[in-house]
Amino acid sequence: MIEKILKGKSAYWIWLAFLVVFIAIGAACYVRQYLFGLALTGMSRNVSWGLYISQFTFLVGVAAGGLMLVLPYYIHDYKAFGKLTILGEFLAIAAIIMCLMFIMADLGQPLRGLNMIIHPTPNSMLFWDMVVLLGYLSLNVLCGWVILTAERKEVSPPKWIYFFVYTSIPFAVSIHTVTAMLYCGLPGRHSWLSAIIAPRFLASAFAAGPALIVLACLVMKRVAHFDAGKKALDKLSTIIMYAAIINTFFVILEFFVGYYSNVPGEVHTLQYLFFGLTEHGHVYNNLVPFMWTSVFLNFAGLGLFAYLKFKEGTDVMLGAACIMIFLALWIDKGLGFVLGGFVPTMLGDVVEYYPTANEIGITVGIWATGFFLVTILYKIAVGVEHEIE
C-alpha cells in the first residue's frame, strides 16, 4: 500500500515540497542546538520547559482524539464512522511521532534516552508515559495497517486484530491521563496540582483531535474526492462541541477555585496568564493576548458549531469552526497550561519565557514533519478507499 504515496497530483507534491522546506529548516536548527546546547532556546533556570514540552503535551491529546472515532465504531457499532477510523489511527501515529520528536528535541542528553529503558523506574510518570506512548503507537500502526490491508482486499479483518483494537481504547485514555499525571502530581506547582487536570486534558483532547480530522476530511473532499459523509461529520461536530463545552466548563471551574478562594497559589498563575502580574514595579503579561485570543476563539468556535446544528452551513463554516476550536485548545493547553506552571517561580517571582528563533524553527520543523506524515498516511488510506469503490 505504500506505493500509493508515490503517485499524486501536482498539488500533492507541491504541498509535500512546501513541508520539506520547513522540515529542512527544522533539521538545520536542531543540528545547531545539538552541537551547542539548549541554551539556544528561550528556556531558563526558572522556566525549564518551554515550547517543546508544551507541543508534546498538546499533541498527546490530539493522538488520543482518535478514540472518538474508534469507540463509537467498534464498541457501539456506529457504522457512519466506518471510513474514518483509519484516519483517527493514522493521525494518532503522526501525532505520537511528533510527540517523540519533541521530547528528543527537548532532552539535554538525547543519546542517553535509552537509560529510561535500561533503568526502568516505575515510580516516575515519565517512564509510564514512554511505555504508553510507544504502546499506543504500536497499537495504531498494527491496527491501522492490518485493517486497511483487509479493507483493500475486501475481506473482514482477522479476528485477532480486534484484541488490539479494543486494547487501544483504554490506551488512548491512558496516554493522556499519564501525561496529565506528569503535571498533577508535583507538589510545588499549584496551578498544576489539581485533580481536574486529567479530565481537562481528556476533554480538550477529544475536541482537538476530531477537529483536526474533520478539517482533514473537508480538505480531502476537495483535493482527493474523499467523502466522509454528512452523517459522520455531523456526529463528529457534535462530539467536538460537547468536548469543547466540557473543557470550557473545567476551565471556568479553575477560575472559580482560584478567584473565589483567593488563595495565592491557586490564583497567581491565572492572574499572570489572563491579566498580568506586577512584581517590583515591572508588569509581566506576555501571554495575556494569547489567552484572550484563545477565549475568543473558543467561544466563537462553539457558537459557530451551535449555529451549524440549527442552520445548514457551508463546509467553509465547519472548517472555520474546527480551526477556531483547535487553535483555542492549542493555546490553552500548550501555552497557557504548561508555561503557566512556571509562573510564579518556586521562589515566588516571575520570569517570563520567550522562545528563540532557533527553537521556533525546530518546533515548526516538527509540526511540518507531522503534517507530512499525516499527508502520506492519509494518501494511503484514501487511495485504498478509492481502490475498493
Binding site: A39, L182, M346, L347, G348
Partner: protein
C-alpha cells in the same frame, strides 16, 4: 494460446512468489527481532542477576529511601542561624563563594542569566519562605538575604519523578544525590522541585568556570545539577564547603538530624526553626532560625 498460458503461469507464478515472499519476510522479520532482542534480553537478565544483591538493593533503597519514614538511618541536615548571617552578611557571601569554588560552579554574565547555575544562593525572606506571611515584616528580616539550597528532603519529589534514577536518595546518609552520567536532561526534576533548587546546564559550563578545583569535576551540558551536601568532602571527614566557610560563627550547623545526640539536634531542640514550604510534604532537612 501461448500468451494465455504465459499469462496464466505469470499470475500463478506471482501468487506463488507472493506466498513465498510473504513467508520469507515473516521469517526475516522474526529473525531480525530475535537477533536484536536476544542481546538486549541477555543484557537485561544478566545485569539484573549480577546486580541482584548490590544494585537491586541500592535501587530499592533509592526508591524506598524516598518513601519510608526517615526516622531510621542517617539523614544529613542543616540548621541555618539567620541571626548570625544578619549580623555578618559577608559570611554568607563567603559560604556561597566556597561552594562555587569547591564544585566548579560556573558564573554566567548578566546577559546570560537564563543559563545561570546556582547550588546555594541568597534571596529575600518572601522568596525563600513563600508560605510565610511577609506583610509588616520586622525590618532586619525584610532587609536580610536568606541562603537557599537543596533541602535534601526526606520525601523528595525530584527523586520520585526521575525516569532513570539519575537522582536518588542515598540510603546511608539521606543525601539526595545526582548521577551526572545517567541524567538524560529531561528536567522533570526541575519541574518537580518545590524549592527551585536545581539548575540545568543549557550549554557547556566550562568557559564560565572562573577557577578549577582540581579535585572535583565540572559537569557537561545537558545535565541537571544541584547542591550535593559535599558528599565528597564528607567522605574525607570534612564539613561541607559552605559550613566550613562560616566555621566558628555557628551560622550553619550541619549533622545527622536523625541522631538525637548530634549538635544539629541540640540546636533544633533549643531554638524555634522554620522551614521552606512545609505543606509540600517533602520534609526538607534544612531548618532556619530567623
Amino acid at each position: 494460446m501461448s500468451s494465455d498460458s504465459c499469462a496464466g503461469s505469470i499470475e500463478e507464478g506471482d501468487a506463488l512468489m507472493d506466498n513465498e515472499r510473504r513467508k520469507f519476510l515473516k521469517i526475516a522479520g522474526i529473525s531480525a527481532l530475535a537477533g536484536i532482542g536476544a542481546p538486549a534480553i541477555a543484557k537485561l537478565t544478566t545485569t539484573a542477576a549480577y546486580a541482584a544483591p548490590q544494585h537491586e538493593e541500592a535501587a530499592k533503597a533509592a526508591e524506598a529511601g524516598a518513601e519510608e519514614d526517615a526516622v531510621s538511618g542517617k539523614q544529613y541536615g542543616m540548621v541555618i542561624d539567620m541571626r548570625k548571617f544578619i549580623e555578618q552578611p559577608e559570611l554568607l557571601d563567603q559560604a556561597i563563594a566556597a561552594c562555587a569554588l569547591a564544585h566548579n560552579v560556573p558564573e554566567f554574565p548578566p546577559d546570560k542569566q537564563k543559563s545561570e547555575i546556582k547550588w546555594i544562593w541568597k534571596t529575600p525572606f518572601e522568596n525563600a519562605f513563600t508560605e510565610e506571611s511577609f506583610t509588616h515584616l520586622a525590618k532586619n528580616i525584610e532587609e536580610a538575604e536568606f541562603p537557599v539550597l537543596c533541602n535534601h528532603c526526606a520525601h523528595p519529589s525530584c527523586v520520585r519523578v526521575c525516569p532513570t534514577k539519575a537522582t536518588f536518595k542515598q540510603k546511608d546518609n539521606g543525601i539526595v544525590a545526582m548521577d551526572y552520567h545517567r541524567c538524560i536532561g529531561c528536567r522533570f526534576c526541575m519541574a518537580a522541585c518545590p524549592y527551585g533548587a536545581r539548575s540545568f546546564n543549557w550549554e557547556d559550563p566550562r568557559p564560565y568556570v572562573k577557577t578549577y578545583n582540581p579535585n572535583f569535576p565540572t559537569r557537561m551540558r545537558g545535565v541537571v545539577e544541584k547542591c550535593n551536601f559535599c558528599g565528597e568532602r564528607l567522605a574525607l571527614g570534612q564539613q561541607p564547603a559552605c559550613v566550613e566557610a562560616c566555621k566558628g560563627s555557628g551560622a550553619m550547623v550541619f549533622g545527622d538530624i536523625n541522631d538525637e545526640k548530634s549538635e544539629v539536634r541540640q540546636v533544633l531542640a533549643k531554638e524555634f526553626t522554620i522551614q521552606r514550604k512545609p505543606s509540600a510534604g517533602t520534609k526538607p532537612s534544612v531548618f532556619y532560625i530567623v
